[in-house]
């Protein structure tokens, strides 16, 4: 069966520090991968999605970037965090079907 792993679960980082969140999927190949951010009262905002290795589409220009170095690995990064980067970050994957499966999320607090 397919599983998605996302870590860390919580993270507190100072303003100006770098960020790296990792997501991996097991049990499937060539998944579509997504990074969403959830802010209070604002729903799920799509940040990046990838249909293959090295292929990244950015939905919202901002302080973040994404990379897909391997087929089932998706990384969300920032060189310098801002206070506004605080939020709940969710990785998700989908296969041939339309259903998207989410990880457990990372609660990021920038202080």
């Amino acid at each position: 069966s397919q599983t998605i792993h996302q870590w860390p679960a919580t993270l507190v980082q100072p303003v100006g520090s770098p960020l790296s969140l990792e997501c991996t999927v097991e049990g499937t190949s060539n998944p579509n991968l997504y990074w969403y951010r959830q802010a209070a009262g604002r729903g799920l905002q799509l940040l990046f999605y990838s249909v293959g290795i090295g292929q990244i589409s950015s939905e919202v220009p901002q302080n973040l970037s994404a990379s897909r170095p391997q087929d089932r690995q998706f990384i969300l990064s920032s060189k310098k965090l801002l206070l506004s980067d605080s939020g709940f970050y969710l990785c998700a994957w989908s296969g041939d079907s339309t259903e998207a499966f989410f990880g457990q999320g990372t609660r990021l607090t920038v202080v």
Partner: protein
């Protein structure tokens, strides 16, 4: 991104009552409409989904009603239970051709009280 509008933002329902959450979309190319359930501190999980070739889909106490002409769809939770208290998101995507990322509504926080 095409918008999906969800209402209400929050909902309080008595145990045993019916919870109703509504969504409206603009993009007529959308052809997949899922609902996700999210508990605090967890990722969303698919609850039920519908395609526009049917007007209703029921799974247990959960029903999606779909109105293609009005571009609206809704989630009905029958016999609501305290364990249903969660945030619910509607979403939509276009799967022809290929799969486009899901576009989500802003969510509805449901509280079922005894």
């Amino acid at each position: 991104q095409q918008q999906v509008k969800q209402s209400p933002q929050s909902l309080i329902v008595q145990k045993g009552g019916i919870s109703i959450i509504n969504c409206a979309y603009e993009n007529t190319a959308f052809d997949y409409f899922p609902w996700y359930q999210q508990f605090p501190g967890k990722g969303p999980a698919l609850l039920i989904a519908i395609r526009p070739d049917v007007s209703e889909k029921k799974e247990g106490r959960f029903t999606i009603s779909f109105n293609k002409s009005a571009k609206q769809f809704s989630l009905h939770i029958m016999d609501s239970q305290p364990g249903d208290s969660a945030t619910y998101f509607c979403a939509a995507s276009n799967n022809s051709p290929g799969n486009t990322p899901l576009v989500f509504g802003k969510g509805t926080r449901l509280s079922v009280i005894a």
